[in-house]
Symmetry: C2
Subunit: 339 residues, 2 copies
């Protein structure tokens, strides 16, 4: 990060017409944005949420309540603007980029989806690896390509998002392996499991880890053995954004799994990440701690798609505008604090 830009931003925060520090996290966010963009006054105008879709072979183990056909159905819903992320993106003035990273079912050929499909869904991680090492690398590279294309169009901040029936299962597996926590501590109810279903899901995840023996320190190994194509794509978006100096707002539990993979591959990428929100999924707090990131909002969301990232983008943009547009004590003729 650009330390000079950060110092200038911090100095300016202290002469704006408010008590020093009174804008709390907004000040902190604006200063880090300055460091990421290398500008004393960061600019957030063009915004995008990249929503990556993929399917998961582990649904054969009945870890969720929704049929796999929902993944392509929701991709169509994104393209038509009817999903939650579309509404929130309209509200914050961001574009939604929908990416097919590995949907199992068919999608109409002529829809506005970025086609990066690695395969038609992953393997069943309870019985073997999710994908080959080459596919893991391909999924990350696809994410880098997608975010690079968006940055080339103009992009001051990007949010990650996901869609994939069953994807809290690989995400919990990644969380357990990379944080060292036990599976029962990081596994949640996803779209709404019963107590019995939750216990079954925990057993499936424990089995997936035992069968695959991923190396917690090796991001590619973890991704290929217990990951997902959209999780790899999200890791790529994060790495690509960081490499180009673009702030990236990480969404919830599935995006957090992508962030853990990205951080394992390039620890310095963490400095470019913001955590949009804290999800209801219990493992998300463990991910946040592992990444050293504090969520921007906590609205009890558990939807994914980039919905929590979108709120983080909005607040980051506001923090940058405050730094740019507020009057200083001198400009406004306001008396400063008595010493």
């Amino acid at each position: 990060l650009d330390k000079t830009a950060m110092e200038k931003a911090a100095t300016r925060q202290d002469i704006l017409t408010k008590p020093q520090g009174a804008l709390g996290r907004l000040e902190e966010i604006s200063i880090r944005l300055a460091g990421i963009q290398g500008k004393a006054i960061p600019v957030i105008k063009t915004k995008a949420v990249i929503t990556m879709a993929g399917d998961h072979g582990v649904v054969a183990e009945k870890v969720g309540n929704y049929p796999q056909e929902v993944t392509p159905q929701m991709v169509l819903n994104f393209v038509r603007g009817g999903a939650a992320i579309n509404v929130i993106a309209r509200q914050i003035g961001a574009r939604v980029v929908v990416v097919n990273m590995g949907v199992a079912g068919d999608l109409p050929a002529d829809i506005r989806v970025v086609d990066k499909r690695v395969a038609r869904g992953t393997g069943n991680i309870a019985r073997g690896p999710a994908m080959t090492e080459a596919q893991a690398i391909q999924s990350i590279e696809a994410g880098i390509e997608v975010v690079n294309a968006e940055i080339d169009k103009g992009l001051d901040i990007v949010g990650t998002g996901d869609m994939g029936i069953g994807n809290t299962t690989p995400s919990a597996a990644i969380c357990a392996v990379m944080s060292g926590q036990s599976v029962d501590k990081v596994t949640g109810r996803g779209t709404g499991l019963s107590d019995e279903q939750l216990q079954h899901k925990i057993k499936v995840i424990e089995k997936a880890i035992a069968v695959n023996k991923p190396d917690a320190k090796n991001g590619i190994d973890v991704l290929s053995k217990i990951g997902g194509f959209e999780i790899g794509g999200i890791a790529g978006v994060i790495l690509g954004a960081a490499a180009r100096g673009v702030p990236v707002v990480v969404d919830g539990f599935i995006s957090g799994a992508g962030a853990l993979i990205a951080e394992a591959l390039a620890p310095q990428a963490r400095e470019y990440m913001f955590l949009g929100h804290l999800s209801v999924e219990p493992g998300h707090r463990i991910m946040a701690d592992k990444l050293g990131l504090k969520p921007i909002v906590t609205l009890d969301l558990r939807l994914g798609e980039g919905t929590g990232a979108a709120f983080g983008i909005f607040i980051a943009e506001t923090s940058a505008r405050i730094l740019a547009e507020m009057a200083t004590f001198g400009e406004a003729g306001v008396s400063e604090k008595a010493e």
Copy 2:
């Protein structure tokens, strides 16, 4: 609240293309908005933050670090658009209504400020009452008049805000009296007091309560003895908005004091209130609990002006748009959860 509208909103939330409950607090907020507006699909388009300014005789006791001249200076800053609330209001598309409830110093005659000045600052509550009972009633009525005029212009949601050097002192006094908590538990550092200054502030507030003996159950008595003109104005905005069926987003610690007065006068007003954010001031959580309200965001703000309310307005608007604009399972052709 309109229970039929709330039931319809809740039913619609359950058929939108997401797992039931996956949007957490956004769903809950949209349903209460439906009840307040009496519409199955609430509409939030026109928005305002009403920022009320007043001065406090208790500054003679040296409870803060900023000189009293800052109050009118900041009023000018609001009018010129240079304060934090102006920037955030531009970001969320809300108008800022600046009200002189009781500034001590002079303001230029020709500026765009609603003039409701009750007096040039309150009395020193460490030595006697803040104002007369008639002035307390006048300040509340002024708030009702201001919000009524704004509702007549078109207003779907309103946020409260404050400006007044020294006003965390009466707010902490009100918090202690109305919550029954001890003064040291509800008193904070305001704009940034040292440990020693904080201890002095606590003693001043204890003295104010001992000297005035406010009746905790009587909102007018509390306001007149240990309140402030902007706090009365805020109580009036809340009561006026509730009476007209307009949702009101309460800002931080000073607005919380106004909300406690409003609730003492009309407990049902609480159903129309949202809590925009949780302030750093330690008493704010106690106010939130007493009001039974959960903050929408927590960004470690301690500025007032309506800055926290503005974020709450934005998220409330988003929640209403989600309810209105998301596709249902049927519309989108998305399969529902297996039973």
